[in-house]
């Protein structure tokens, strides 16, 4: 009988054209056959860590802790560990197995990683999003590692006829009074043992960690990436595969009225032209519809699409215009909105104020622009569907594919390739559904390739917004109240009839969850209807909220004659955990799905990262003319990040020679990837600050490619990013770092520009010159 994990190994190797070593007779032993484990307290004999509750248990299909699902050991000692989350560049495909391997005692050089298909009933939640992978799974990975280690120890003790206490698990071997046995030697015997209950497990002391917390493990795909062997969405091929591109309606809600395929079909290589049904409303992850050209190669499909003649009906969003919409949002922001936080008495604070200082901030839509545009391969054959795609939620994709093709979920398989960037775009599987519908229609495997223009023009856009902020200031210059009003179309508009208002979880991203220690704090949300597909984009609502509030505080400091850092720390207030019940939240605190007991809003941690970043950057020192250090801090996804950006403005061009980033993500499981995430966030943050603006005219996106939707490049990027990780023991709950680095960057840069030049940047993107 072939173990399920070996099937994964074989499937993965089959997709790698360059893979030459195939051990077809390889036997993989199950490690254990006992009862499954429940996530419970970890009061093991060594009491090396006490478990804490995470939101992973509340996610669909929860967290699986059965090592038989995640670990296999070969007789030759190869340890195979399943990566069940999608890899889009954060390193989770390395870091989670690394945690398991370390606790288990495995030698990383002898660990093989295989990618799980979309199967949450088996693997637990796989929706790779929300900076959740490490936060939700570090404990389960340690628990499974400890269970396997215990089983190997017991197997060795039985083999030698000695007490379990007389054997020691070292690196990839177990040592007893009379010698040693390798993990491979013990795999078969360990298989016969029950999986020990969680409460009986002992855990390694942190001083024993070889990989966890050390940053000593390179990413598992490093060699493949540098040699062109890494497999992304467009890199899997099947015999008889056809290539498709789709002409989609320029306006969301648009439809094909008629089309002429004659010229397209005359292009050599074009085999079929297929109309795809228009998306309904709400649009969800449904393909937008349009006309697909199917061909024997990508170029023929592209030429065929160019030759199509299509008459479109643009539908209800045909008048969407970003300039007009901005004016509408500004008008809405001038009036009271729905109150989403009301702590203290803002009206009284404002009435009593010596001065009211206000600021208003704008952000344009943004596209994700993953380097790998959406792409998917589908093979619909014999009543079953198999899909290879770079998707963040492979099981969600599987369920959606079943819905859209009319198949049972059991007849659908989704293989997650590496993602050439995700940032939230690849949470939406419209491109995989397109491939499935086309494969079903043409009766052959079909790869749907999105061009860059498709990607820029048919995205799920980060919401555009207006943030209006007012501060009440008394005679002494002290801030006695804050009003923060947000007007922005909601992500919920893709899932349900649009109310025009943001959901509590959107308000909870950097708007209603701030720790400010002022007398009155009111948050409001004004109505704004969506006229395109609004989607989550790395860090989501935190991006404009942090830009607005962190910019405003710098303006407030200037207006009240205060030092920016001093005022920022004063507003954050004394070290304390903010009581969610005292925050004046009508719908309660949305804390990224986490309990505020486990992941509190901790003002002390806010202040700590501000001080660490500012001190490292030399905040307060005299700088040459035209240079300044801009500060910003934000907590998102329960991780705290401060940025101190040294900004230089040369002939109107903004340069960022250095950024110091201080990050507090609780226990730091893989510092090396935490640093890489902060470095990347600095670059993406500078890109969104300077360049990222998607605008609409006549309902359609104006931009098209990297020519008019520009990226920061090596000729002007944050040249040196130094990441300072606030150290914590394992007992401080770990949080993710994929998103939290981004929000403070744009305001830190804008504040740097402000203090360097006196010019206030209140609209994102800033543009090429200030």
């Amino acid at each position: 009988m072939m173990h399920a994990i070996e099937k994964l190994v074989r499937a993965e190797r089959a997709t790698k054209p360059a893979m030459t070593i195939l051990k077809v007779d390889r036997r993989v032993f199950l490690v254990g056959s006992g009862a499954g484990l429940a996530l419970a307290s970890f009061a093991g004999p060594l009491a090396a860590f006490e478990g804490y509750a995470v939101g992973g248990s509340d996610m669909p299909n929860g967290v699986v802790t059965d090592p038989r699902i995640f670990v296999a050991i070969d007789p030759d000692g190869t340890v195979t560990i399943v990566a069940h989350r999608a890899e889009m560049g954060t390193g989770s495909r390395t870091s989670l197995p690394m945690v398991l391997a370390d606790e288990m005692g495995a030698d990383w050089a002898r660990v093989t990683i295989v990618q799980a298909p979309g199967d949450e009933p088996r693997y637990g939640n796989q929706d790779t999003d929300g900076s959740r992978s490490m936060r939700h799974h570090i404990q389960s990975m340690r628990q499974m590692g400890a269970a396997v280690r215990t089983m190997l120890a017991r197997a060795a003790a039985a083999e030698w006829g000695v007490a379990e206490g007389d054997v020691t698990v070292g690196v990839h071997e177990v040592t007893g009074p009379n010698g040693s046995l390798g993990f491979g030697d013990l795999a078969a015997a360990a298989m016969a043992l029950d999986v020990p209950a969680a409460e009986n497990l002992a855990f390694r002391d942190e001083s024993e960690f070889r990989y966890i917390g050390t940053g000593s493990v390179p990413i598992t795909d490093l060699h493949d990436i540098t040699t062109g062997k890494a497999v992304y969405g467009a890199d899997v091929s099947l015999p008889g595969m056809l290539h498709a591109v789709v002409a989609r309606p320029a306006v969301v809600g648009g439809k094909v009225v008629s089309f002429d395929a004659e010229a397209a079909l005359a292009i050599p290589g074009v085999t079929r032209v297929v109309e795809l049904p228009a998306a309904g409303s709400p649009v969800y992850f449904a393909p937008l519809g349009g006309v697909a050209v199917v061909a024997s190669n990508t170029w023929a499909a592209l030429r065929g699409r160019d030759a199509l003649e299509i008459v479109w009906e643009d539908g209800p969003n045909a008048s969407y215009d970003s300039a007009v919409f901005r004016v509408e949002m500004e008008a809405t922001a001038a009036m009271p909105g729905a109150v989403v936080r009301d702590q203290g008495d803002w009206d009284a604070a404002k009435a009593a104020a010596a001065r009211v200082i206000s600021g208003q901030y704008y952000q344009a839509h943004m596209a994700h622009a993953t380097m790998e545009p959406p792409v998917a391969l589908a093979n619909f054959a014999n009543g079953a569907l198999e899909v290879w795609a770079p998707v963040q939620s492979p099981y969600g994709t599987r369920k959606d594919l079943a819905t859209f093709t009319g198949l049972d979920e059991a007849a659908v398989t989704v293989h997650t390739t590496l993602l050439g960037g995700g940032f939230g775009r690849k949470s939406k599987c419209d491109f995989a559904i397109e491939a499935a519908l086309l494969s079903k229609e043409v009766g052959a495997p079909v790869r749907v390739q999105w061009t860059r223009e498709d990607d820029i023009r048919h995205g799920y856009y980060h919401s555009t917004s207006i943030d209006h902020i007012e501060a009440a200031v008394d005679d002494s210059g002290k801030v006695t109240g804050l009003l923060h009003r947000v007007v922005a179309p909601s992500i919920m508009s893709i899932f349900m009839e649009d109310s025009g208002y943001l959901a509590n979880w959107e308000n909870g991203m950097g708007h209603t969850d701030m720790p400010f220690d002022v007398g009155a704090l009111r948050c409001e949300n004004g109505k704004a209807m969506a006229h395109t597909r609004i989607g989550w984009w790395r860090s989501v609502n935190n991006v404009p909220r942090a830009f607005a509030m962190q910019s405003f505080i710098a303006e407030l400091a200037e207006a009240t004659g205060r030092d920016h850092k001093d005022l920022l720390l004063e507003l954050i207030g004394p070290a304390r955990e903010v009581d969610p019940d005292g925050m004046g939240l009508p719908d309660g605190l949305w804390n990224y799905g986490e309990s505020a007991d486990v992941y509190p809003i901790d003002a002390g941690r806010f202040a700590k990262v501000v001080n660490v970043a500012a001190d490292a950057a030399g905040y307060g020192q005299a700088l040459p003319e035209g240079e300044a250090i801009g500060l910003a801090v934000h907590r998102s996804f329960v991780t705290y990040v401060a940025a101190a950006a040294r900004v230089r403005v040369v002939d109107g061009r903004v340069e960022v020679p250095e950024i110091h980033m201080a990050v507090d993500c609780g226990f730091a499981a893989n510092p090396e990837r935490i640093r890489s995430q902060m470095e990347g966030a600095a670059v993406m943050g500078m890109t969104l600050a300077m360049h990222s603006g998607i605008t609409f005219e006549n309902g359609a996106v104006v931009q098209s490619n990297f020519s008019d939707y520009q990226m920061v490049r090596t000729d002007n990027f944050p040249r040196k990013v130094t990441t300072h990780i606030v150290p914590h023991p394992f007992s401080v709950p770990a949080a993710g770092v994929g998103e939290p680095g981004v929000p403070p960057i744009a305001p830190a840069i804008a504040n740097g520009v402000f203090f360097a030049t006196g010019k206030r940047m209140r609209s994102l993107p800033i543009g090429d010159l200030v």
Partner: protein, 150 residues
């Protein structure tokens, strides 16, 4: 039929000579290491070497390289141990990795062109390759390491 020397092997590619080299490499020759990123010469993800020079394979046709030596990431070094590849691993450069083949091909041409590159030369030489994950600092460090050993 277009004759090229592809990764050191004399090859005949059976495709319309007007096909962009990128799609000929990927769809016809079956070498997926070279990536599509923009199709407009703006991002560098599809960079290959044509007679030793870094070129955007989306911007030249198969016919343009008739008789030329074309090297893709798969053929840069038989064991994947070109100094640039080793430097990339030394610096743990990639995040998602998608743009990295193009970055490495660009860097390899740059390093071959001029020994002891200055940092400014690296910054200018790599400016046409976009990395959305933002690995630029490590890219610069890796190119410097490959170019100068430092």
């Amino acid at each position: 039929m277009t004759r090229i020397v592809l990764n050191g092997v004399s090859s005949e590619i059976d495709a319309d000579p007007a096909m962009p080299l990128l799609w000929a490499i990927r769809d016809i020759a079956g070498l997926p290491g070279t990536k599509y990123g923009c199709g407009a010469g703006l991002c560098g993800a599809c960079t290959v070497h044509v007679n030793g020079s870094a070129e955007r394979s989306c911007m030249i046709t198969l016919g343009d390289v008739e008789g030329a030596e074309v090297v893709t990431i798969e053929g840069l070094d038989p064991a994947g141990n070109h100094p640039v590849q080793r430097a990339w691993r030394e610096m743990n450069v990639p995040q998602c990795g998608f743009c990295q083949a193009g970055q490495i091909m660009q860097a390899a041409a740059l390093v071959a062109e001029k020994p002891n590159l200055s940092d400014d030369e690296i910054l200018v030489g790599m400016r046409d390759n976009i990395c959305r994950c933002g690995c630029y600092e490590r890219i610069v460090q890796a190119v410097r390491l490959a170019a100068t050993g430092i």
